[in-house]
Subunit: 792 residues, 2 copies
């Protein structure tokens, strides 16, 4: 147990906790299963989505919301969706609410606890101790809430408990709500609006109800938001403050709400428990099935918790670590693989993930569930175009369509095929995958290897006369949508990424196809590197690209956006940069991109739109990507640093990707280290107040890369065809570290220790010294102990 | 001055007022000009839109809102957009807010006043009297706010005034806010999100700023919503309650807000005034132009008020009435023509009005600004299809597109051409319009008359073998989208409406083209009527239609939706119904559709979707159209009743379309009689609690029809080719009424009086008895006095 500093944050084993709801108001954790996700803040606000098959919500804002992707730094407000429980002392009328909103009465003690399998609060106030806890089922779309109260004050108490689940504006076509005694809960009904006949047939089976089901019948209820609030408002609802009992008021084309009242008498020392299910449903039958499974069966919640634990265990990581940094251990052992698993199993709760994201997310999944990663690659390749190009998004559900950003042409999707395969093959040794035939939408069959060949040839073909890759309306960087929309602009990063992909693929093809097959790819890689060196080396770093009108950008003469991180990282990976260039790049990165909160994606931040570059420049300082520490880019840089053994620099970059460990850093980030966010605000010179702040968004390719960097970089436990290569890259201030590495079915216990006065690394396996640090002939089911002595 | 009943509603001349913000929380008034609209509730919530060219908002919800049409019965909530002013007594810290939200401290006196040219509050509290007033400019997109406070308590007071204008969630791409001393106000900046390059070029000139400009520099300010609220929340913001001065905090990719603080010392009897402009703007230059025009010039607000009065005067109605019903007079003289003007001048703030709505709105405009109505008809006809069909919407702006419901094929649009023309020609005598050539999108020119001929032929052709008109995915009734989507379903109403349109057109064509040209239309009308009589007379009323699968609906054997109002009304207009049928229909309407709050559109209300009828049936009882008193349909019925001289029945229908005059009715409707809403909830048997409640939506074809019914029906002052026909249809309990009728440039003073014991009507003009009640040879600029003696 280590207390951060008395600021109210604690790590309790694998759990993180917050002791003050005011200090980090937006700090959150999230739970998910394959069909739903719910993110909950320490103050009780919640954002939940489920798939039907497109993402939908069962609790919404009090206004018609736009359908959009999850937004970063989403503000909260009094009527933001949340899960609350008002508590009234029926003797003196004192009112407060769990966990903190909506009343905002500061309790005597407060603990928001983020566990891997639950979110809970433990709150002490006025001689009472409450537990308010959310769990999820493994399969169903439902929130399982438990409320416990214990009387610790030495005398009998009379209380009213009011679970309050706002439901929001469900539909202009129809919305209503009432208590249904026969179903055992409040049922909010709605009809998703449609105007075109064809939409009707899609929507008629939607789960358009939102229900709050109870195990025990309440003493009273309200289902009408306005009637519940009255003139008192959310912080002091008239239905609670002005009346003994809730009014039993229905909503009838009015804003629904779900409020229950339990009047309890609690003897000294006694406790009371209630259970609730909050969920979407289609009809009475679905509601009844939920109540039967979770409420009528007294063990329903316990069974669900067991099942959910089993579900999570299927996403267990491939390393368990112990290092001198306990916070980091908790993150690496529990939270990071969990986030990787979320991406790979729930696919960010979208039906059309960007191809780039899908392949990288499943690159992460290769370390948890190789079979799932494998299937994802096959699915992606089945949607490859006849010309070898990959589409902008991978459709996962019947009837799914490319939406939003996936309607904007990007040119980098093919790059991620060899990147995925390198990691997947290293981890699994499953070379048979390369020969698996894949049938595409036209009915054409080709093996995985042939399809990747085609993708690589497409990349090579999509270059201009200089050999630089066309960017169209974006590459990895979505907002860069005006560089090449006229068809001429090129991307320096993409050309380097193409070179890296070609090199990886040439390496794979040399082993599985032969040198003759590999040669054109190796040659292509050289050509790409040469083109970038010829046209985009800017003296101290690589430029980002050249616009339709021939203007190089991301170069030192630019007043804004003069240097971008990605081209430098990938020039290190692709082999474009020689040692001299590499040294200059690293110096430039340190001087210009490294700040107190991490490594920025570009600098200086744009202050105005650049019409030849694109959307990015509209994201003014302090907003989203612009000038931010974009962790996905930081992770590429990290990968490149580990590839070159730059241990201490890498550790600094890595550690800055996580909040903490000190309380000041946590406060500034405003986030617990239970996920790595897609960005932190970065513009510490221009916007010092908000620099470092987390986006609170856990959808990010960062998770997979960061996990890969830990496994293969930091701990240097990377697979290859013959076995496990051992090449740790620990920061110099770590004197030891232990890793339990799960690899191809074996358990490998690795103990790393610095031995003062030694020079090189030595590796012993079960006591015997290894000549080369490669553990071969690994047997599935086997246990190995590896001792690594590192220079001290 | 007549007080409704002590419930807190008053009419002061042409102004309506509410004395308690709790009694009718959603009661509202609205102001508009051609570029913007703002609807304000008595509690201070506001919904505003402006055109750029599509409707946009400069103050929004705290969450990303969907772009949608204006929604009925829109709920409010703490963070709903509004315009407020907190007031803190700097001696004792007492806090309240104008007008009522967000603090909700009930003031000692409260008056919300809806004037035709302003919305204002007069509020007395703690010895102070406040006025909080909104006016609009005639042309600019800006709200002009005045705050006045007078000290009436006999001692010096120290106060802080905090105008607070929430701005909401502007954009995920960029949002920020700060005070700009150089511009004299708080400037909230944003970038409307775009992902596709082509959108950039549309959006880059958007007015993406929201500004609150002040005449006098404040003592302090805040521009960050969360920082302003703190832990206190909107009802007790920490920035006010915990600090002497606002903190000057900016928003930086955070929720913006505009809050100012004025610390004033007010001697006994003294007063203080501040002025503010709240508006969208594109850049500094636009902001400076606003401040120069309205704030730097001390008379800017006064000039704007004068100009806005001039603007409104261009929409003056064509009748000024005095009747025994004072509330009705105020409505008819000021509010109804104002609503008609809004529709005709601002076109409901849409760039693609439904063709049906556009033609009916401009039918109303014929009584206010015939030239505008004329131009609208020509614009509509210029978008006619080559086959004579009218499109689903009329595009008003360059680049506008058919949206929402206009992407769903409806088949009634042609009907409204003769309906419009009949009213327009009656009012103006402008038969020259019929020969005006109109060039369509294909470059084809044809006269108005020829185009209407083509439209009528299209209607005749779009019928099945029985002679009934195809409904496709809707006719007048949008939600009836599944009756005929397979291409076979027919509409009884549409067939009757076609008959009526053909009869009208045959009449016009007989005078302007000759009997031979008119004959096919007259014959078509007879055929349509005959078809409906053959296939849809149900014994006591006309059925609504026959589905794709041959099922007649809106018939007595239907358990739900057995009778619809529209087919009955239009059978009366089209001549389909003979006297016997008419008597049966009227009896059925009285028995089944007339309820305590008006005439319902259908009965019994649907309780579930009927998959062969459509969207309507998803609107469960108590929601929107289903089972409601849909005023547009009630107005058709009213028109039909006046056409047949059914004076008392008509008056009952008419009066039920307006809230009041008694306080109980106002409370139930929840609306002031400053506009006629599109519906009231109607299901008084099934949903008594909410029956009668207003939609609060003032976009409705009702306004034009109701105004027409007053002019031509109730007061019987209808134009025809030779002059003004006089045929009043006053309710029997009115003993007299006076009307000043403006007609073709003349002023005609009409005094109607019942003379006991007389039998027929007699009409004198300037003292001379008229043989037939037709005032001929009217000279523009002339004044006439008409005395009408009615049977007593």
């Amino acid at each position: 147990m280590s207390n951060a500093s008395g600021h109210g944050f604690e790590r309790e084993g694998r759990r993180f906790r917050i002791d003050d709801p005011r200090a980090m108001p937006h700090a959150s954790s999230f739970l998910w299963n394959r069909r739903m996700m719910v993110q909950v803040t320490c103050r009780g606000f919640a954002t939940a989505q489920f798939m039907q098959p497109e993402p939908a919500k069962y609790a919404r804002a009090p206004v018609l919301e736009a359908r959009s992707f999850m937004q970063p730094e989403q503000p909260t407000y009094a009527h933001h969706p949340g899960r609350f429980c008002y508590v009234r002392d029926d003797e003196d009328g004192t009112l407060f609410s769990l966990p903190y909103e909506p009343v905002r009465a500061l309790p005597e003690s407060f603990a928001f606890r983020a566990d891997v399998d639950a979110v809970s609060w433990r709150i002490g106030h006025l001689g009472l101790v409450f537990e308010w806890r959310l769990g999820l089922p493994a399969d169903d779309i439902a929130e399982l809430w438990t409320l416990r109260v214990r009387n610790r004050c030495g005398r009998t108490r009379r209380l009213s408990l009011y679970p309050y689940f706002p439901v929001g504006y469900l539909s202009w076509m129809h919305q209503s709500a009432c208590h249904r005694a026969d179903l055992g809960g409040i049922v909010c009904s709605s009809v998703t609006p449609y105007q075109k006949v064809e939409d009707y047939f899609v929507q008629r089976d939607f789960m358009d109800r939102t229900v709050l089901l109870h195990a025990n019948a309440p003493d009273a209820w309200d289902a009408n938001q306005a009637a519940f609030e009255g003139e008192g408002g959310l912080h002091a609802p008239s239905a609670i403050c002005d009346a003994e009992l809730l009014g039993g008021r229905v909503a009838d084309y009015e804003l629904p709400a779900a409020v229950l009242q339990y009047r309890i008498v609690l003897d000294a020392g006694a406790s009371h428990e209630e259970r609730f299910v909050f969920a979407p449903a289609r009809d009475d039958a679905q509601v009844l099935a939920l109540r039967k499974k979770y409420l009528d069966d007294g063990e329903g919640f316990d069974k669900a918790a067991t099942d959910y634990g089993t579900y999570l265990s299927h996403g267990r990581g491939c390393i368990d670590i112990r290092t001198p940094d306990g916070w980091f251990d908790a993150f690496a052992n529990q939270w990071l693989p969990r986030q990787v698993y979320y991406h790979g199993d729930a696919n960010r709760l979208t039906t059309d993930p960007q191809t780039r994201n899908y392949l990288q997310d499943h690159m992460g999944m290769a370390y948890l569930q190789p079979a799932t990663a494998r299937a994802a690659l096959l699915r992606a390749l089945s949607q490859q175009g006849a010309d070898g190009a990959m589409p902008d998004g991978i459709l996962l559900a019947e009837g799914a369509q490319l939406k939003y950003i996936n309607q904007v042409p990007h040119t980098d999707h093919c790059v991620w095929l060899p990147v995925f395969l390198q990691a997947y093959l290293d981890e699994t040794g499953d070379v048979a995958l390369l020969d698996v035939p894949v049938v595409d939408g036209d009915g054409h069959a080709a093996s995985v290897a042939e399809r990747v060949d085609a993708a690589m040839h497409w990349l090579l073909s999509a270059r201009d006369a200089r050999g630089l890759g066309y960017i169209a309306q974006g590459d990895w960087c979505d907002p860069m949508n005006m560089v090449g929309y006229k068809g001429r602009g090129v991307s320096g990063w993409l050309t380097l990424a193409t070179a890296h992909a070609l090199r990886l693929w040439a390496g794979i093809r040399a082993r599985h196809g032969g040198e003759a097959v590999a040669a054109p790819f190796a040659e292509g890689a050289r050509a790409c590197n040469a083109a970038v060196n010829a046209h985009l080396w800017d003296g101290d770093w690589y430029g980002r690209g050249i616009t339709d009108d021939g203007v190089a950008f991301g170069v030192h003469t630019d007043a804004e956006g003069a240097i971008y991180l990605n081209p430098q990282s990938w020039a290190m990976l692709s082999g474009a940069a020689d040692e001299a260039k590499r040294a200059r790049m690293l110096a430039a990165i340190e001087a210009r991109l490294v700040g107190p909160h991490g490594v920025a994606m570009l600098d200086p931040p744009y202050t105005a739109m650049r019409e030849d570059v694109g959307r990015l420049t509209q994201k003014f300082p302090g907003s989203a990507e612009n000038g931010s520490i974009y962790n996905h880019a930081a992770a590429f840089y990290l990968h490149a640093l580990y590839a070159s053994g730059d241990a201490d620099r890498a550790w600094r970059v890595l550690r800055a990707m996580l909040p903490g460990p000190d309380a000041d850093d946590l406060l500034r980030r405003g986030q617990l280290p239970v996920f790595v966010p897609n960005y932190y605000r970065g513009d510490w010179r221009g916007h010092p107040r908000t620099a470092g702040r987390s986006s609170q968004l856990f959808n990010t390719g960062t998770a997979a890369w960061l996990y890969r960097c830990l496994i293969e970089g930091l701990f240097g436990l990377r697979g290859e065809a013959e076995g496990l290569r051992i090449a740790p890259c620990l920061p110099s201030h770590w004197h030891e570290a232990s890793v339990l590495r799960r690899f191809r079915g074996a358990s490998i216990e690795v103990h790393m220790r610095r031995i003062a006065g030694t020079d090189g690394m030595s590796v012993r396996v079960d006591g015997a010294v290894l000549e080369t640090p490669l553990l071969r002939d690994i047997v599935a089911g086997g246990h190995y102990r590896v001792d690594v002595a590192l220079p001290g």
